[in-house]
Symmetry: C2
Subunit: 198 residues, 2 copies
DNA sequence: TAGATATGCGGAGGATTACTCCGCTTAACA
DNA sequence: TGTTAAGCGGAGTAATCCTCCGCATATCTA
């Protein structure tokens, strides 16, 4: 059923180059706040025709997704690296802070994550499992180590981070985001010495 | 400079009625997920012409804002009431949970709050101060009572709630939101018996 | 009640944007 | 170097936002 078209030829070099130009142009535009830039304009800035844009990306959403996919994958890769070099709860904390830094540098991620955790729209569906698996691995390792209460859904952390990233435009947001990371970790510790609610 | 036009006549009854019809129609559409419904369609469903819609609401954003304004104001009113009947930290907690319930019932609020805390777009600016004042009052009362660390920005809580509300579409989001409220409160307590992070 | 008039209604239509289609160009292969 | 198909470009179509202006009617005055 899954008719995979096997191409005998190597993909054309100019095609790949144009595709990359389009991605770079769109990413730059989104980062600078031009989120609803006309696609004609994206094509023009990338130095290609509008037809070429639509050849590579079926519609606006497909282009946006392609831009965000790459960023999310890099974030997931960082988590794997952190998990190998830090104790569990530190890895979790470090990744969440990295998350914040990442958003600080490139505010492109927020909508992607929103769609990711929301899960309703088919957009970003491909990366969803990767990121979910990432946070799941970090949290479950911290739980096994006794640093985090076991009754928490790892997705809770992701949801909180998504929230932070969604308000990235506010002036003092970055400090706020760092505080929230610590609050989340502090509030998720098992009730050893302190008294938890109820 | 602020040339306020003083109208001698009472506003026409049909005008007010049509405006309300438009608001109700738009609200219903947004709640049912038709967020990018054409405005022509909104006007049609409301039984008025497109010109009438634009007479009452300058553009799409103005219509959306008008829909959300009312919801936010009601939320702020609830906080005032809670503050008068509950001890500080309980009032904060109750309001945050009410927030969650409110979103559960009507998922209309999320984008409004996003714009509110983000602050960049002029949208929702009018309600921003109201909600900010609301959370500020709740948190500062809890701080004075010694339930919450004093080094937290009240907006942090708002930002976290906005995050929760932005992912309201996911299946298990409601339980997650409640857990997050408790995590936030637990993580915000002053370090009395337990040891806080650095 | 009837006339005057400003407030409000309605929808045609201009401008903008998303997306399609198809003939031409050019990189990959023999 | 010739063949071939992958890829390019932009004119054109459809959908949507928003404006404009003549017509209708609710409110006010007498």
């Amino acid at each position: 059923m899954d008719g995979e078209k096997i191409s005998r030829r190597k993909p054309r070099s100019d095609g790949q180059r144009n595709r990359q130009h389009l991605l770079d142009t769109a990413k730059a535009a989104f980062q600078s706040g031009e989120t609803d830039i006309p696609l004609d304009e994206v094509a023009r800035r990338a130095g290609v025709g509008i037809g070429t844009l639509y050849r590579h990306f079926a519609n606006r959403d497909a282009l946006i997704e392609a831009v965000y996919r790459n960023e999310l994958d890099r974030l997931a890769a960082a988590a794997t690296q952190l998990a190998g070099t830090h104790p569990p709860v530190e890895a979790l904390r470090a990744w969440m802070l990295l998350f914040v830094d990442y958003i600080a540098a490139k505010q492109v991620i927020a909508p992607a994550l929103n769609g990711l955790v929301g899960g309703t729209c088919a957009l970003y569906a491909a990366s969803a499992e990767i990121i979910k698996g990432t946070i799941d691995g970090l949290v479950s390792r911290a739980v096994k180590n006794g640093d985090i209460r076991p009754d928490l859904d790892p997705l809770d952390f992701l949801r909180a981070l998504v929230g932070v990233s969604n308000v990235a435009a506010a002036p003092g947001w970055e400090a706020s985001a760092r505080r929230l990371v610590d609050i989340l970790i502090a509030g998720s510790q098992p009730p050893t010495a302190s008294q938890s609610r109820t």
